[in-house]
């Protein structure tokens, strides 16, 4: 198990380095920060000074070398906009995103498993058809549209909930509800399919022959077997939330990492962009490791 974690960590390190290289060079292609930061009437000397101050006058490779050296010592540079360490800025935003993702995915997972399992238990029944319809709609509705409609209805017309920002529990409700819809729709369908297979399996027949009640047959015998493909999809969906739900965070003015990334890209705040990518990539790597371990936990036949 430890050697598995080491192997995975090494493989992920390589992809992290690749990611770093790509993002660093691509971000330098998007324009000159000096002309963006300084007023239009700034002189050439002022620009040169600005570049020298931030090391932007060095050749790209030298800049990259310095950057990698700094990263290895835990220094991700300063945010050009906020004059604070980039890492601090990112971690602050990431905490918001993490909470949003954790709460949403917990709700999604619990609801999707219950609904998907019950739908699979009586395939073709009313509940199955109803939940199939709901989940199909959920999986296909564009979330930005849903977000805007939700704001119009619940925040503006009914005035039940705040339109955007943070500050109270009520501020969380709309973003969570909107983010809930798509992963819920997708995961319900995966749970349903996987549970239909599990419920028609031979070991379920054995359980019925033993006289086991329906509840334990669904939620003890079949569900644990059905969870493997489901976990993969949960991980996938969680990853897209951890990346920062860019559009939703922007619409709701939610200070998460997705919104931070977009803002920093628009402002050429390279250090923050790079730090945000590193932090989310690391988080996704950790989550994948947890998923692999969950496989082994759920299925004794999987051993690393």
């Amino acid at each position: 198990m430890l050697s598995f974690i080491r192997k995975r960590a090494f493989a992920s390190l390589i992809s992290l380095i690749g990611l770093l290289v790509m993002v660093f060079f691509l971000s330098r292609l998007t324009g000159d920060p000096a002309s963006l930061f300084l007023p239009v009437e700034a002189s050439a000397e002022m620009k040169a000074e600005f570049r020298a101050l931030h090391g932007l006058d060095q050749p790209l490779l030298v800049q990259f070398g310095q950057y990698v050296g700094n990263v290895l010592t835990g220094d991700l540079g300063e945010s050009l906009r906020k004059a604070r360490p980039a890492l601090d800025v990112v971690l602050e935003a990431f905490t918001w995103t993490l909470w949003l993702a954790v709460i949403t995915m917990t709700l999604v997972t619990v609801c999707a498993i219950v609904v998907g399992s019950l739908a699979a238990f009586r395939t073709g029944g009313f509940f199955d058809r109803f939940s199939s319809m709901v989940s199909l709609i959920g999986a296909s509705v564009p979330d930005f549209w849903l977000a805007i409609v939700a704001i119009v209805v619940f925040a503006i017309q009914l005035s039940w909930l705040p339109t955007s920002g943070t500050g109270s529990l009520a501020h969380w409700i709309l973003p969570i509800c909107v983010l809930f819809v798509r992963p819920f729709g997708i995961i319900v369908q995966v749970v349903r399919g996987s549970m239909i297979t599990a419920l028609s399996s031979a070991y379920v027949k054995t359980a019925r022959a033993k006289g086991v009640k329906s509840g334990p047959i669904i939620f003890v015998h079949a569900l644990r077997n059905a969870m493997l493909p489901v976990i993969t999809v949960i991980g996938d969906q969680a990853a897209s939330l951890l990346n920062g739900a860019v559009v939703i965070e922007t619409i709701f003015g939610f200070p998460g990492v997705g919104k931070l990334m977009i803002d920093s890209i628009l402002q050429r705040d390279f250090n923050v962009v790079l730090a945000a990518i590193l932090v989310t990539a690391f988080a996704i790597f950790l989550m994948n490791l947890v998923i692999d371990l969950a496989y082994a936990l759920l299925d004794p036949r999987i051993r690393y």
Binding site: A202, Y203, T206, A209, K210, G211, R301
Partner: protein, 539 residues
């Protein structure tokens, strides 16, 4: 009159499918008393398992429907009970074991957990359940029972898993045990042990046993009475002896005559050079030596049967000969050239000569290809064999050769029965005009009567086309009828090699003798004599 333990009266079960109503069983009646063993004998599709599923309430309704009849357990009609009452009956009064214990045990829970669940479901406390589970594991002679409880199903061998199933079924001392093909997936010696265990347990508990099987040998070994089923109908019933010696119905007669192991044995021709000469073939999987130096020769038109139990290395041998896996030592001279070290280019040309027919035609035929595509694909890969203009004609000819007809060309594999699918697989192998066909358990999955047809076909091909066969099988009577030479393998080694007559009539090695002794004879009298001889030699 006292009630029978179990009585099935005029049971009919239908399945409502998209393509119409299927009458799975029609008006069948049978009974079973305490301490008695009744066998339901039938081939696939005969509906032999349907009545037991009805007894256990395992039929999904819909699409299933009990259209008539009743099932009485001690005079009480199961169909009139509430579903909760039937759930209570399951496990407590009637228990069931299945053909494939690996898929019938939940892979993600320990067997101890599954044992305790069976007990706890019917109101036994945790501590008592643990104690009982251990007692039962000891009773079914699982090695190291304390530790076995904490293991998962995949950590046991097939025979051990079936012992776990039996222990679980007997947990609540049921009055009736239903065994659905309990030994079909097991090796012969393990089959003998499991059947023996079932009989011992029956003597101890006095339960009635309903055994569902396609194997006449199993019937003659364990059953008192037998009912024969064909196409959902019960065609014959009686004591095993009566039915075997004096079958009334044409279908029963056909089944009995199709049982292999009664024909003349082959006298292998001795002339000619070997086309394949294997010397000291070895294969390792990591540190495990799967083949420990296997040698044999094969001449054109000859059949070598490779027999042995699971783990003996017989399939590994097939795979390295066809270079589906690389050998780790030894040579295999095919017309003077070493198969094991041949370059990919040479091997490609040689693929024509060496073909393989697998056990499960459902899996080895691509379900999205028509029969024509499946067979002619060989010529797409080896275009030198046949110009495209003649493909249709040749496919029709090949289909004729394997007993199908040209009109089957446009159909897909799922439209055929198991036996027909295996014929398609054989036609596909023949398309390349091979010199050697390796059959890996090629008829094991087929019904006895279909098995006989496929064997006849293979024998015809051997005689007419001089094809040599390596015939991997675990079914000894079948080998006796078809092979020239028999190679008995155990744990990667050749234990015994000889002509069929030598090996079957005068086995030299104890392992071969044990294999032959464990093989079941369809004749109840012969089987009883074998059993007595075995018991006598054991004591």
């Amino acid at each position: 009159m006292a009630d029978h333990l179990l009585e099935v009266r005029n049971l009919s079960v239908d399945f409502h499918t998209a393509s119409g109503v299927v009458h799975a069983v029609r008006n069948i009646s049978y009974y079973l008393d305490r301490g008695e063993t009744l066998a339901i004998l039938g081939e696939s599709g005969s509906g032999k398992s349907v009545s037991s599923s009805a007894i256990m309430n395992l039929i999904d309704m819909p699409p299933g429907k009990i259209s008539s009849g009743e099932i009485l357990l001690d005079g009480q009609d199961l169909f009139k009970m509430s579903s909760e009452a039937r759930r209570e009956v399951n496990g407590r009064r009637i228990a069931m074991i299945f053909q494939d214990p690996l898929s019938h045990l939940n892979p993600v829970y320990t067997v101890g957990w599954q044992m305790r669940e069976a007990l706890k479901t019917h109101g036994i406390g945790n501590a008592k359940a643990q104690e009982e589970a251990l007692r039962l594991f000891k009773r079914v002679a699982l090695p190291d029972p304390e530790r076995a409880l904490d293991k998962y199903p995949h950590e046991f061998s097939g025979g051990q898993r079936q012992r776990v199933m039996i222990a679980m079924a007997l947990a609540l001392k049921p009055d009736l045990l239903i065994a659905d093909e309990p030994t079909t997936a097991l090796d012969v010696t393990v089959q003998a042990e499991v059947l023996n265990l079932l009989k011992e347990l029956q003597r101890e508990t006095g339960m009635g046993v309903l055994i569902i099987t396609h194997d006449l040998g199993v019937v003659s070994e364990v059953a008192d009475r037998v009912v024969v089923m064909e196409k959902g109908q019960l065609v014959e019933s009686g004591t095993v002896r009566e039915v075997y010696h004096n079958p009334q119905h044409a279908y029963t007669k056909k089944l009995i005559s199709a049982a292999p192991g009664k024909g003349d044995m082959h006298e292998p021709a001795t002339a000619g050079e070997p086309i394949l000469s294997v010397k000291d073939a070895r294969k390792f999987y990591g540190g495990f030596e799967a083949l420990k130096g296997v040698s044999f020769d094969l001449k054109a038109g000859e059949t070598v049967a490779v027999v042995g139990e699971s783990g003996s290395g017989k399939s590994t041998l097939a795979r390295i000969l066809l270079r589906l896996e690389e050998a780790d030592g030894g040579t295999a001279k095919w017309k003077g050239k070493d198969l094991f070290t041949m370059s990919p280019g040479e091997l490609f040309k040689l693929r024509r000569d060496l073909q393989m027919v697998f056990q499960d035609p459902t899996q080895s035929l691509n379900p999205r290809m028509t029969v024509y595509q499946l067979i002619s694909e060989a010529w797409v890969i080896h275009p030198e064999i046949l110009p495209k203009a003649k493909w249709r004609e040749r496919v029709a000819e090949l289909l004729g050769q394997v007993g199908l007809s040209a009109e089957h060309m446009g159909r897909y594999p799922h439209q055929f029965s198991g036996g027909q699918r295996q014929r398609i697989a054989i036609a596909r192998a023949l398309a390349l005009e091979p010199k050697l066909i390796v059959c890996d358990e090629a008829v094991s999955a087929l019904d006895v009567s279909v098995q006989a047809q496929v064997i006849t076909l293979l024998d015809k091909l051997r005689k007419e086309m001089g094809i040599a066969f390596i015939f991997i099988a675990h079914d000894l009577p079948l080998v006796r009828d078809f092979a020239d030479y028999v190679m008995v393998m155990q744990k990667g080694e050749v234990v015994e090699f000889g002509t069929v007559a030598q090996v079957f009539d005068n086995p030299q090695k104890p392992y071969t003798q044990a294999l032959l002794a464990a093989s079941l004879d369809p004749d109840p009298d012969v089987q009883a004599a074998n059993r007595n001889a075995r018991l006598a030699s054991a004591s």
